[in-house]
């Protein structure tokens, strides 16, 4: 097969886009214009915020038949061919049909995969990504980070789903502003914002990135400063825990009108003695981890200390799940 040379779309900025990104989201100033709000959301969010991080992929030497089985099981029409994070090509339903027709289903994927791929960069704003969805007929785009590593896959549905969540937040804010600030929001439990971050084991260069993002998101929503601080500390401690002590996991942020909840869930190895783990100064960190500034043994106790509600569950060999709830103080007028 020829030299791997995908077209990486990076999205050239135009002046209008920059101005839009700097414009604060003030419904009054925008005249409550929903199309401008949508544009702002599309600028604010990046491909990485919305993409699926669990990429189903196949190796170059696997057969087309295996590719067909994976695509059928997972109901996808495009299967990236990748190894160790490097993207080599894509097998599509068309390739399978041609393979069935031509009788070469036992051939390796690399012999028939498409290699002139259009991929998106993780840091690209959604506004640009949507333009490319329009220009190309592909249902999904693989996503690469700045090191050309395959980090996700994004479809138009992923984008629409994320936009719907955000739009519902903005619409509620607009409704509240027009009604006046004093009324109780009885539907407060229904209205929520949720985001997930993958945490990779021992990936110390990225460790803490979810907590940094979480802090940024809460500040954007103008949540009480002291609450933001406490959430950020708990999120950071729990994320580092996943990174240095577990096989990997996820951080989940859930914001309702009354609470902010951080959930840290990993795939193991589990904590044999939870009470011991939650004590100040107890840690299972090895010397290497300590040399990097971690492992003081304060993670769980710090998170517990700063949260309003703290829950930890664990099963050895299976998982650990820690949840911290923070109450948002009601602002009096």
């Amino acid at each position: 097969m020829g030299e791997y040379n995908p077209t990486i779309l990076q999205g050239q900025h135009t002046n209008d886009d920059e101005i839009l990104a700097k414009t604060p989201l003030d419904p009054k100033a925008l005249g409550g214009d929903s199309s401008v709000i949508i544009m702002e959301l599309l600028q604010r969010f990046k491909v990485r915020d919305v993409m699926k991080r669990q990429v189903i992929s196949i190796s170059r030497t696997a057969t087309l038949r295996e590719a067909q089985a994976i695509m059928r099981e997972n109901r996808i029409s495009g299967l990236p061919v990748s190894e160790n994070g490097r993207l080599y090509g894509l097998v599509s339903v068309n390739d399978i049909i041609n393979g069935l027709d031509g009788g070469w289903m036992s051939d390796a994927c690399e012999d028939h995969m498409a290699t002139n791929l259009v991929v998106l960069e993780a840091g690209m704003p959604l506004a640009f990504a949507l333009r490319y969805f329009n220009n190309y007929t592909y249902g999904r785009f693989p996503v690469l980070d700045s090191n050309r590593q395959l980090v996700g896959i994004i479809s138009q549905r992923d984008v629409m789903r994320a936009l719907l969540y955000e739009l519902s937040v903005e619409i509620r804010k607009l409704e509240r502003k027009t009604r006046g600030g004093h009324e109780q929001e009885d539907q407060s439990k229904e209205h929520y914002f949720r985001r997930e971050w993958a945490v990779v084991r021992n990936d110390l260069s990225r460790a803490g990135h979810a907590a940094n993002d979480i802090k940024g998101l809460l500040r954007e929503r103008k949540i009480d400063r002291t609450v933001v601080r406490r959430v950020a500390v708990a999120a950071y401690e729990l994320e580092i825990n996943i990174c240095i002590h577990s096989h990997g996991g996820v951080m989940v942020l859930l914001i309702t009108d009354e609470t902010v909840t951080i959930t840290a869930k990993d795939r193991g190895p589990g904590i044999p003695d939870i009470e011991w783990a939650c004590r100040d100064g107890t840690s299972t960190a090895n010397d290497w981890i300590r040399s990097l500034g971690f492992g003081a043994g304060m993670g769980l106790s710090n998170s517990k200390r700063v949260s309003d509600e703290f829950d930890i569950q664990s099963e050895v060999g299976k998982f650990t799940k820690v949840q911290c709830v923070f109450r948002i103080p009601k602002t009096g007028n």
């Binding site: 110390l204 460790a207 803490g208 940094n212 601080r229 950020a232 500390v233 950071y236 401690e237 710090n302």
Partner: protein
């Protein structure tokens, strides 16, 4: 090393620590973090506690990723050839000089 140095802010408190867990315990505003931990983690921890800057002492080499994270998160990053103790003394003297002025 990072930050545009065009918007000066007053330092509220100096935290000199290499254990990021301990840094997280501080609640003051506008902390200046003084550390020998030349890693992305120092920057990320600084961002979490709302620190206004990070000084890495002993002239420890700063990696490109550390500088990039500092730029991404908007945290001014300074390298100093002094030891931790000397840097603390210098900062303390500066505080006293400001108070007297």
């Amino acid at each position: 090393m990072a930050g545009d140095g065009t918007s000066p802010r007053a330092v509220g408190a100096v935290v000199a620590n290499d254990l990021m867990s301990d840094v997280l315990l501080h609640d003051a505003d506008d902390i200046l973090l003084l550390t020998s931990l030349a890693s992305d983690q120092a920057i990320r921890t600084a961002h979490i506690v709302g620190a206004m800057g990070v000084v890495v002492h002993n002239a420890k080499p700063l990696s490109e990723t550390m500088i990039k994270v500092a730029n991404d998160l908007g945290i001014p990053l300074v390298s100093s050839p002094l030891s931790k103790y000397d840097a603390c003394v210098r900062l303390h003297d500066a505080f006293l000089a400001e108070e007297r002025a």
